[in-house]
């Protein structure tokens, strides 16, 4: 079963995450890192959820990853694949959708790459993934 385009809800930016959403409009996908413990985290916060330091910063991600888990929501008008994707070179996984894909060919561990998807209205593009 091939995926169809599903119009995604627009994320509502707040002062803490405005920079992330401004970057997606520039075609960049940012991950938040901590200077104190060097660890990345997601979703982005100003205070590191791992060590508690407020010395955190954004860094552009490679956009590569692999599927940690996924589920194809079938009993809705436009079926879609929700997933956690583990980001390349990190131990963190983010919630996302796998788009432009054959649902029945998806598997855990599969390599995927970043592709931005439109959001409703004039919302910022959303980081999604597609089979690499």
């Amino acid at each position: 079963m091939m995926s169809e385009k599903r119009l995604m809800a627009a994320p509502i930016a707040d002062p803490e995450t405005q920079e992330f959403w401004d970057a997606t409009r520039d075609g960049k996908f940012l991950v938040r890192y901590c200077n104190a413990c060097s660890a990345p985290h997601h979703y982005p916060r100003t205070i590191c959820p791992h060590c508690g330091s407020d010395d955190t910063y954004f860094k552009e991600a490679s956009g590569n990853g692999e599927i940690y888990s996924f589920s194809v929501m079938r009993r809705v008008p436009i079926p879609y694949a929700i997933a956690y994707v583990t980001l390349e070179g990190t131990d963190i996984s983010m919630m996302t959708n796998i788009v432009d894909c054959d649902f029945d060919s998806l598997s855990i561990g599969q390599k995927v790459k970043l592709v931005f998807s439109e959001s409703e209205g004039d919302g910022p593009p959303l980081p999604t993934f597609t089979p690499a």
Binding site: P11, T17, H42, S71, M73, R75, D91, S93, M95, T128
Partner: protein, 389 residues
């Protein structure tokens, strides 16, 4: 300091309704409160502590104390979704142990059916101020696809199968056939479950719980009050609570917060999983039960599929009778929050008041466990160990 032996569950009531078009939400809370207090042999004027969660209307304990005419000296609106009510029992025992109240009332009610809520298949919006909202809501996480991801990962890591998960529904249906109020009373087979429509891989329709209106209430009292009442003594012996979340992105969907709340409760109670005669296990989906059984220590991590197979959860057949009222999978799941009914059936079992066809003989030690929120993102876990004296 421990709560072991500091409080007793003296009253328990499950609302008979499954679709409450003709009742208000506050009315349901009051009817459950009345039912549980009458069960205990108490009245509302005896209540000095009140506990409710996010299902309560308006300003929670304020709105409902006003509606029901309660005079209180202690209140608690701990909100951890469907696990709230197990945690309320623990908090009530703590408050009683500290002398903050002597008769604690806990209520849960909701009418998602009457309101036509798309409980499992529409993403829930907890509001723009919710920190994860922008990073999750657009991807349409629903209750069923979040638990679907847990099941998928469990299958990947441990070889768990859909047929093994189906045994959980089969066991619940064997119990529900004896419950005239259960929404799904037909006994189903493993084949029925795996051949039912796929909702969100790998969860089929029959892997999911029912959607129902209704609710329930509990009355937790100080020991001297429990002994003055003409009811079996159901002692709160141990409790544990914990949140589990995405750990800053270090997502691990293979276990739940029961891995923390369970051992805490067992330690406080001074008992082991093998001592438990009956278990109420939160059953929003079949995978929910399987993961929690592992995390609570009833079997090793990854062995849940084998543990639940071949009727091992069926009362009178298997080693661990579970959810003998039919549970959320077959009986009811009021307000989309199954924690309250988990405690109520455990109390019935300990009193010897479960249906004779499912009553566990000499049931003197029971566990009730609840999950609230979503195993796929962030959830609360509450474990209770209860003993009949």
């Amino acid at each position: 300091m421990s709560i072991n032996g500091k409080a007793y569950i003296a009253g328990a009531f499950e609302h008979p309704t499954r679709k409450a078009i003709d009742k208000s939400l506050a009315q349901l809370h009051a009817e459950c409160a009345k039912g549980a207090l009458e069960d205990a042999g108490l009245t509302k004027d005896d209540v000095d502590g009140y506990f409710c969660a996010g299902d309560a209307p308006g300003l929670g304990p304020l709105s409902l104390a006003d509606y029901m005419g309660l005079k209180l000296r202690h209140m608690d609106s701990t909100e951890t979704g469907g696990s709230s009510y197990l945690i309320h029992v623990a908090h009530a025992a703590e408050a009683i142990a500290l002398g903050k109240c002597k008769v604690a009332l806990i209520t849960l009610c909701g009418r998602p059916r009457a309101e036509g809520m798309a409980t499992g298949t529409a993403p829930r919006n907890y509001g723009a101020g919710t920190p994860d909202a922008a990073f999750e809501f657009p991807y349409a996480p629903t209750i069923v696809n979040m638990y679907g991801m847990c099941a998928k990962r469990h299958m990947h890591e441990f070889g768990t199968t859909s047929e093994q998960l189906a045994w959980i529904k089969v066991a619940a249906s064997h119990h529900a056939q004896h419950n005239p109020k259960a929404m799904l009373r037909d006994v189903v087979t493993v084949e029925d479950v795996v051949n039912s429509p796929m909702i969100s891989d790998p969860l089929h329709r029959l892997d999911c719980c029912v959607i129902s209106d209704g609710g329930g209430a509990l009355v937790v009292v100080a020991p001297e009050i429990a002994r003055s009442l003409n009811r079996p003594l159901v002692k709160v012996k141990g409790a544990g609570e914990a949140p589990k979340h995405q750990m800053g992105g270090r997502v691990d969907l293979t276990y739940s917060g029961a891995a923390w709340s369970g051992p805490t409760a067992f330690e406080e109670a001074g008992v082991k999983p093998a001592d438990i005669k009956y278990a109420s296990i939160y059953d929003s989906f079949t995978i929910t039960v399987l993961m929690q059984l592992e995390d609570l220590g009833f079997c090793a991590k990854g062995d849940g599929g084998k543990f639940v197979s071949d009727g091992n959860l069926i009362s009178g057949v298997g080693k661990l009778p579970f959810n003998t009222d039919g549970g959320g999978l077959c009986n009811n799941h009021p307000a989309n929050r199954g924690g309250m009914t988990k405690v109520i059936e455990a109390v019935r079992q300990l009193r010897g008041e479960a249906h004779p066809a499912v009553q566990v003989p000499n049931c003197d030690l029971a566990l009730a466990h609840g999950t609230g929120g979503s195993l796929g993102t962030r959830h609360g876990s509450g474990t209770l160990i209860l003993e009949r004296e």
